[in-house]
């Protein structure tokens, strides 16, 4: 049954090594990542530090898709790094929606 095996492999690749076997992003882990690790530049409350304010009112010009792209690929020429090596697209999407909704996702 080659096709299902391929799709399983694709799913595992998409969800990343750390998340192998888990289909859905882990909300608790990602919430912690946002506030503590994004927070080391953007502040624990996300109102900014060396990096800018990323609360909903400030990032309202973004769509979930455009914000997901910023998270995954960073902003060249600024300290914002690409997070693609560390998180999956699904996780970036979850974070983008979390940020745009002010944590109500």
């Amino acid at each position: 049954m080659p096709p299902p095996m391929r799709s399983l492999a694709a799913l595992l690749a998409l969800s990343g090594a750390a998340w192998a076997g888990e289909a859905a992003p882990d909300a608790a882990v990602l919430t912690r990542l946002v506030h503590h690790d994004c927070g080391s530049c953007h502040g624990l409350t996300l109102k900014g530090g060396l990096g800018p304010d990323i609360r909903p009112a400030t990032i309202a010009h973004h769509t979930p898709e455009s914000l997901r792209a910023v998270i995954l690929d960073g902003v060249p020429g600024t300290p914002m790094p690409p997070w693609r090596p560390l998180i999956t697209e699904a996780e970036a999407e979850w974070i983008a929606r979390y940020l745009l909704s002010g944590g109500a996702s």
Partner: protein, 395 residues
Amino acid sequence: MDRALPAERRCVMRRAALALWLMLGSAAAAPAGEIRATGDLGLIVERESGSLLVIDQSEHAAIGRIEGLGDLSHASLVYSPDERFAYVFGRDGGLTKVDLLTQEIAARVMQAGNSIGGAISDDGRLVAVSNYEPGGVRVFDAATLELVADIPTGSKTIGLVDAPGRRFVFSLWDAGETWIADLSGESPAITKVGGIGAYPYDALVTGDGRTYIVGLFGEDGLTALDLWQAVPEPVRVLPGYGRGEEELPVYKMPHLEGWALAGDEFVLPAVGHHEVLWVDAGDFSETGRTPTHGQPVFAMARPGGRQVWVNFAHPLNDTIQVIDTLTKQVVHELKPGPAVLHMEFTARGHEVWVSVRDAGKVVVYDTATFAKLAEIDATSPSGIFFTARAHRTGL
């Protein structure tokens, strides 16, 4: 002399002395009512709950908690010369003076919207805070927390340290300048030094108060200033140290603190590379590099300089490596747990205390044997600060 006084007068004096002793005793009492010295106390920042854990370094124990300090992410603090009070710099712009003996907040002001660190003057009279928003430095009376001077810079301001002669030194993230503010006179006298480099992210001053070293985020390299000069000339240190190597994404900025001198060399964290950099403390020429487990956050010389302890940025932040200063080789590796944020040495370096944020604990190690000596529960611990910092320039 005592015998020459009339008995009645001696009695009055004794009563007055007793009253004074009771007054002082009650004002300075620890919660249990016993007399307590502060020389081996310390504070651990609990960032999420906005509280400080009061610890006794000799007893390996928490002895209390001070609450109500606001947003303490990335908070740091300095101590008064008598090691009784700490001034806590919160990310939310709060400046809080806490009393280690009564374990209470003694004074608190919201002095800006967004802050990053502070310093206390050499005479202990002034406390300065470095602000992102509005960008600049504000200086407060250490006794009352009343505003003494406001120094707007028009830039996010980082790397604020104290320097001898009632001076504060700080750098401008956006403008690539370092300013030296002399507060020994009526009003602040500011010396501005340009050409520091692109995006200074943090700075340190050496324990002798002479050398100010600025880390750069926008380019490979650091910049040093000789604060003994009236107008210091910027000296580039390791320009282009990562040239030819692939720059890695930086998920956490390194920190520079006054623990950089190891023997005759400064040890410094590289930005965007898995290595620690060594430079000659006299002429700033490169003397070596040590490949490390991840991107270093703190590279701290143990007091005395014999070893350098290094922790790392997310996602490799469960590890500490110990580097031998003579060979520049990693001689030991520890895995204290998830999210090792900070290390603090005891004054003479026999122990190191390590905050392990996601394990909710602080771990104490013997620096000679690397044996774990104790674990202390703490809520999302970050910075650890022992009172011995009170007597060190730049800490």
